[in-house]
Structures are given as C-alpha cells and as structure tokens.
C-alpha cells in the first residue's frame, strides 16, 4: 500500500505540457527519488503535491485520502529555489514559518531551540538572515522544513550549497527522519546520493514517466551481463580464445595486469566465462559490471529522446 499516490496527473501550460499522465506510488517510510533532466516536469509535480498549483487532470492521495488543504500541515517542503526574508531575524523568521505550518507558538519555540542547538546555529537566533553564511541559511531552511514534524517530506536538491561535512549531517538527519516514520520524496541530479539513499525512483523526462521501480530492481534490469576481468600471463588479443558470441568490449594493460571488459550472452554466466578463460590466463579478479544510476539515467533519457524523435506520438 502506498503512503502517497499520484494518479494520472496532467498539467498544461499555455505553450507546453508540463506533465503528461504521470503516476507515482510512494511506499510508506521510504525514500523516493524523483529524477529527471532539467525542465522534465519535476518541479511542476512537486508543486502539485504541495498544492501550490492544481493539476488539470488526475488525482492525488495522502494515505488513501484525497489530498486536501489540511494536508499541508503534514507535508514539509524544501524547494530547490529556496530563500528567507533577508532583513528578518533568524529566530523570528523560523518561528513565523513554523506557525504558518500550524505549529503553536510555544511548541515552535521549544522545537526550534532544540534544532538550533543541534545544528550549532543557536548564537545566530537574533541575527538578520543576510548576516548568515549560505550554509547556515540552508540549515535554517532545513529546520523550518521539518519543524512541524511532517509525515511527508519533499526535498528538492537538498544538498546544494552544503559543504561535505554538512552534507553528511543532513544525510544522517534524513535517514533519522525516515527511521522515525517519515516518508521522503527526494529530487536531485546527484546520482551518487540517489544510490546511497533512495529505495525507489521515478524517472521523468519530457513530462512523461519513463522509468520507475525499486533501485535494486532497476539496476538488475539494466545489467548487460558485462564482466570486468583482470589477468596476466596472456599477451594476445583475448578474442583469439573467446567464443564468437562473447563480445570483448575493451582490453588494456595496466601495470603488469591486463584488464578486459567482456559482454557475454544472456544465457551465459560468470562461470562460463571463467571456464573459457582459465585454460589460457591466470585470473586475478572477476566482477560483474553493474550499471550506476548515473549511466541508467543517461542511457534511458537518451534512448527515449532518440525514439521520441522517431515516433513523436510515443
């Protein structure tokens, strides 16, 4: 059962279609990656989830309830284009934003004090936002996103503007939030963090969903049965010993070792490959090349673009 569902959502702007019949299912207590190139329609979808704009068609469900105005108190949103009132004092502003999310004044004060201490920005409470460094502003922004303890969190490029130390701090917080029961929608171009954090993803391109599923499943599905093998005691071209349906992608010498990438037929396994090679070479290491999310992203998007150029109706 999904915690949050988007069903057949379409949104048109005057000149173009921002979303075309997009559906996503976000499982409870998961980290859900919402991926796609710039201008694919991610921000539109996120705004629709936040009820900032309304879809032309389609429905959204929050725990099986139709998404309604009162749900905004259960959603925390960290937009990609983020900002604070520059001339307003940090604490005052955090309090204001928390109260707009329906947190009572005393409650908000208590929680803000806790988070400000945790994030080491307590001394800045009475400073104006413009006096803060970018990183500190981001921390304040993160705090106001989660201060009302939302059950659904939407982070749009949450790590931009953070140094590596604070990125780790943030990752830990995100994981803690999930452990404590929150469901997280996470939009980013940083594929390394997708692999690290996300359980499921949806890839949107040109306003359509082109890929979705569990990260592990997607990666398995995108395996090409390609192996990387390092060996020595064999100086010739490997093709001389490989069967015809085994495809040598590359072979190069590195120090005293040779490294080759070989794609084998779908029916074959690593054992087959070893059996073929062992009589000729001494194997040092063999491992399957699993595509990174980065490669999957680029390949899928490029594929779709070239096919959609051929069939415009696709």
């Amino acid at each position: 059962m999904s915690f949050f569902s988007v069903r057949n959502v379409t949104k048109n702007y005057a000149a173009h279609k921002a979303l075309d019949n997009v559906s996503i299912e976000v499982p409870p207590q998961s980290i859900f990656g919402l991926l796609g190139p710039n201008g694919a329609g991610k921000t539109t979808l996120i705004r629709i989830i936040n009820q900032i704009i309304a879809p032309d068609e389609g429905e959204l469900f929050f725990e099986n309830d139709k998404l309604a105005a009162h749900h905004v108190h259960q959603i925390g949103y960290l937009p990609e284009e983020r900002g604070l009132y520059k001339k307003m004092k940090v604490g005052e502003q955090a309090l204001y934003l928390a109260r707009l999310k329906g947190v009572s004044k005393s409650d908000a004060q208590k929680k803000l004090r806790y988070w400000f201490e945790k994030f080491d920005i307590k001394p800045w409470w009475n400073k104006k936002v413009e006096e803060l460094s970018k990183g500190m502003q981001q921390k304040v922004q993160f705090i106001v996103t989660i201060i009302h303890e939302p059950r659904l969190l939407i982070f749009d490029e949450p790590f931009s503007g953070f140094d590596p130390i604070n990125v780790n701090l943030l990752k830990d917080e995100i994981l803690t939030l999930r452990r404590n029961g929150a469901t997280i929608i996470f939009s980013t171009h940083n594929m390394a963090s997708v692999e690290e954090l996300c359980d499921d993803i949806t890839l949107i391109n040109n306003s359509k969903k082109i890929l979705d599923g569990r990260v592990s499943d997607i990666k398995n599905a995108h395996k090409t049965n390609t192996f990387s093998i390092s060996f020595n005691d064999f100086e010739n071209d490997l093709r001389t010993v490989l069967p015809a349906d085994f495809n040598l992608i590359s072979q190069q010498a590195k120090d005293e070792l040779q490294i080759a990438r070989i794609q084998i037929p779908p029916a074959a396994t690593a054992n087959h490959l070893l059996k073929v090679l062992m009589p000729h070479v001494s194997v040092h290491a063999l491992n399957e090349i699993i595509p990174t999310m980065n490669e999957i992203f680029i390949n899928t998007v490029n594929q779709k673009q070239s096919t959609s150029k051929l069939n415009d109706y696709e």
Binding site: Y85, R99, L100
Partner: protein, 472 residues
C-alpha cells in the same frame, strides 16, 4: 485556521514595516511639516505689528460695543448703508468691513467680511467669537428667564433678577445656546468688483485631502509591490505558498500594509495636534489669541455654580486653540470628511494595491516594473490634474464623472466633499469603488498566484492576460 494564517501574515507585514527606520522618520517628519503648515501662516499673519482698522456695519445693533480694540485691531462702528460702506473701504486704509445683516426671524448668525486683501483667519475667528459670545449670552439670558417663569410664573422682573441664577443653568441649556456663526469673506477687487473667497478653505481642505489620498495610494501601493518582489526575488515565496494559498499571502500583505498606512495617518494626526498644542502653550501670545481665555473667564464668572463647572469644562476643552483654528473651516462636515477619507483611502488603496501586487508578482526585479507602472500612474496623475479643474467647478460634469470612475474617484471625491456633495453621488461612487476593488483584488489574485512562481521570464501584457485563465 485559514484566518489564523492570514492574521499571522498581516502581523508580520505590519510589524516588520512599523519597525523600520524609514517609518519612524516619516512618522516624525510628517507632523512637523503639517504642523508648520498650520503654525507658519498664523505666525506670519501676526508678525505685522501694524494695527489694522476694521469697520463694523451692524444692522442688528446687538454688537454695538462688543468689539474691543486690541493691539492688532481697531474696531469702528459705522452707520451707513452697505453700498456706501463698501465703496468707502475699496482702496482705502481700512483693512476690512464686517457687515452683520439683520436676520428676518431669529438671532443674528451670519456675517460678511469685505476686504481689499485676504482676511486673516485670526480676524475671522476673533469676529466669530465675539459674535457667538454675544448671541450665546443673549440666548442664555432668555433661557434663564424661561426657567424662572417655569418655576414661578408670577415673579416680577426685579425679583427674578435678584434670584441666584447659576443653579438654573443646566447642561441642556448650555447645549441649546451653542451658536454657530457663519462668516463669509468677500474680497473686493481694485475695480470694486467682488470675488467670493469663502471657498478658499474648502479648496484648501479638498486639495489637501485629495493629494493626501494620492500620496498614500502611491506610497503604500508601491510598498505592496516591493514586498511582493522581495518575496519573489528571495525565493521565500515558494516556501510560504506551500503553507498558505497565494491569495491569502497577497491579501495578508495588502491588509498589513494598509494597517501601516492607517497607523501612519493616525500618528500624523495625533502628533500634529500635539505639536500645535505644545506650540500654543509655549508661545500663547503668538498663536492663541488672548480673547479666547478672556471670553471664557467672563463666562465662568457669570455662572460660578459647582454643578456646571463640568459642563463648562467640556465646552472649554472643545474650544482650545486648535479647534478655534479649525473653526474657520467649520462649514465643512468633518464627520463626512473623515469617514470618506478613510473609505476612499482604503478603497482606492485596495484597488491600486491589488494592481501593484499583481505587477510585483509578474516581474523579477524592480527595474522591470516600469512598463507596467504606466497604466497605474496615469489615472492617478490624471486625477490630480483634474483636481485643479474640479476645485473650480466642484459640481460640474467633469467633477461628477471623475468622482464616479473608480480609478480617479478617491482623489476627486475627496476634493469635492468639502464643497458638499449630494449623498446619492457619494453612495454611488462608493459602491462603484467597492465593486471595482473586489474585482481588482480577484483579478490580481489570479495574476499573482501564477506570477510569483515564474522566474527568469520577461512577462508581457499578453502573458498576464493568459494567466487570468489558468486553472488553480
């Protein structure tokens, strides 16, 4: 919940602006300028140490020896007909001629001042006071006699005179005897022709109110616009609209800024009064003519009874120096004036403020606002330009139509009201303005909610037109 959020937004918009240095500076500078507006002419008019000769042509005979010479004015009673008197003072040394016509039925309540040059407010209020004083005294005498007769109808005149009268004076009587004297001033031209100048006060007040409305709409309307741009540029708007509806954010801002404007206005009024009052206390001989106190001393000595001191005090406090100044403007209905000022300020501000908000939402920075500002500034400036015509013909068709068109009515109607405007016209104009600002707020809301989320795009009029029809 929704109301709570709007109130939160209003509170923020209000507090951040009221705490700004520029607000504090404006609040202090405004009253100083306005007080100067009141004080400087009074001081200037009394600077001349020359004693002015004023002739009194009193057809009623009530005020024969009531005008006492002071260090500024010498009064002289003349007994000719009006035409001769007018001819005599035309071009002569005499400063002014006060003509008090005999009333047909009741007590004298009006006078006309003929003069070669503009008559000073000081002289006007002096004459008005002396006349009012005398008429009130006569009325009081009559009332007291009536009271005595009521109690004891058989009492003889002499016996009635010897009675202790003070305890007969009730608050009601004091209210009844209150008399308003209407003074009209007419300036005589060199050729002896008359130019009525009694409208000058209405003109001044009307123009002042019109300009004030214009100024407030511009000042606070553009504050709304800047606020919207600030939210858009700093990108905080996206965070906020994930908590509240864009319309709530827009309304919260518009209302918050309106309250700042009203606060500023109230502070200006209060501080201006305070400054004028302080000035009068520090230099009473300059601004507060002594006659005022003398007159009241007389009155208190005549009616020394304990019971009536309270009533007298209220009368007295109503008649402090400032009010005496304003008394010169008494032909204007101030309740209407203040009520309509507030209404037209709020109505005009909402109408223009909504448009300012829509523009702020459509652009990315303040420099881009130029092309959209024009359609807003033109009607406002037109209103101020038309005000010059309207003021000379406050009941003409131009005045009528421009006080109906909602874009100009706040300024033009304020200019007209001191001259007296039929109630149905005020009502109609207010209804039109109300309908218009509701429509403007609604339309602006639609442009606003699309505009605030649109970055890095030069927006055209056509684009804004399309935004009106976007869904949700």
């Amino acid at each position: 919940m929704i109301m709570n959020k709007i109130i939160l937004i209003i509170k923020r918009e209000y507090l951040t602006r009221v705490q700004k240095k520029s607000f504090v500076v404006m609040t202090i500078l405004g009253p100083i300028l306005m007080a100067a507006l009141f004080i400087v002419p009074v001081v200037l008019s009394q600077m001349s140490d020359e004693v002015k000769k004023v002739q009194i042509l009193d057809e009623t005979g009530w005020f024969l020896d009531r005008f006492e010479n002071s260090d500024r004015y010498v009064f002289e009673h003349i007994f000719t007909d009006l035409e001769t008197a007018k001819a005599n003072i035309s071009g002569s040394e005499t400063y002014a001629l006060v003509y008090i016509p005999r009333p047909e039925v009741s007590v004298p309540s009006s006078g006309i001042i003929f003069s070669n040059s503009q008559v000073s407010l000081d002289l006007k209020s002096h004459i008005r006071n002396v006349m009012a004083k005398e008429v009130e005294n006569q009325k009081l005498g009559a009332e007291i006699v009536k009271e005595i007769r009521k109690v004891n109808p058989t009492l003889s005149e002499a016996e009635a005179d010897s009675l202790e009268k003070s305890n007969l004076v009730t608050e009601e009587i004091l209210k009844n005897i209150k008399t308003n004297i209407t003074l009209t001033s007419i300036q005589l031209g060199d050729s002896g022709s008359e130019a009525k100048s009694y409208t000058e006060v209405s003109m001044g007040v009307g123009m002042f109110a019109g300009i004030l409305i214009y100024f407030f709409i511009f000042l606070f309307g553009s504050q709304v616009m800047r606020g919207v741009i600030e939210e858009k540029v700093s990108r905080i708007v996206e965070v906020i609209v994930s908590s509240v509806k864009p319309f709530q954010l827009m309304m919260g801002k518009i209302i918050g800024v309106a309250l700042v404007g009203l606060t500023q206005f109230m502070l200006w009024v209060v501080l201006t009064l305070a400054i004028v009052t302080i000035f009068q206390t520090v230099m009473p001989d300059k601004v507060n003519p002594q006659q005022a106190t003398e007159i009241y001393n007389q009155e208190t000595s005549r009616i020394p009874s304990q019971a009536n001191t309270a009533a007298l005090q209220t009368m007295e406090s109503n008649e402090t120096g400032m009010t005496r100044m304003l008394e010169a403007l008494q032909s204007i209905n101030y309740t209407t004036m203040i009520f309509s000022f507030l209404f037209y300020f709020i109505g005009g501000y909402l109408l223009y403020g909504a448009m300012f908000a829509a523009i702020g939402a459509a652009v990315d920075n303040e420099t881009d606002t130029q092309q959209f500002m024009l359609p807003i500034t033109v009607p406002l400036i037109l209103a101020i330009v038309m005000a010059q015509f309207v003021i000379n013909n406050p009941d003409g068709p131009i005045a009528f139509w421009f006080s109906m068109i909602p874009f100009t009515s706040p300024v033009i109607m304020m200019v007209r009201i001191p001259f007296g405007v039929p109630l149905w016209q005020i009502g109609l104009s207010m209804i039109i303005l109300t309908v218009s600002f509701i429509a403007a707020v609604w339309l602006a809301g639609r442009i606003y909610r699309t505009g605030i989320l649109m970055y890095g795009k030069k927006v055209s009029w056509g684009e804004m037109w399309k935004w009106l029809f976007y869904k949700g």
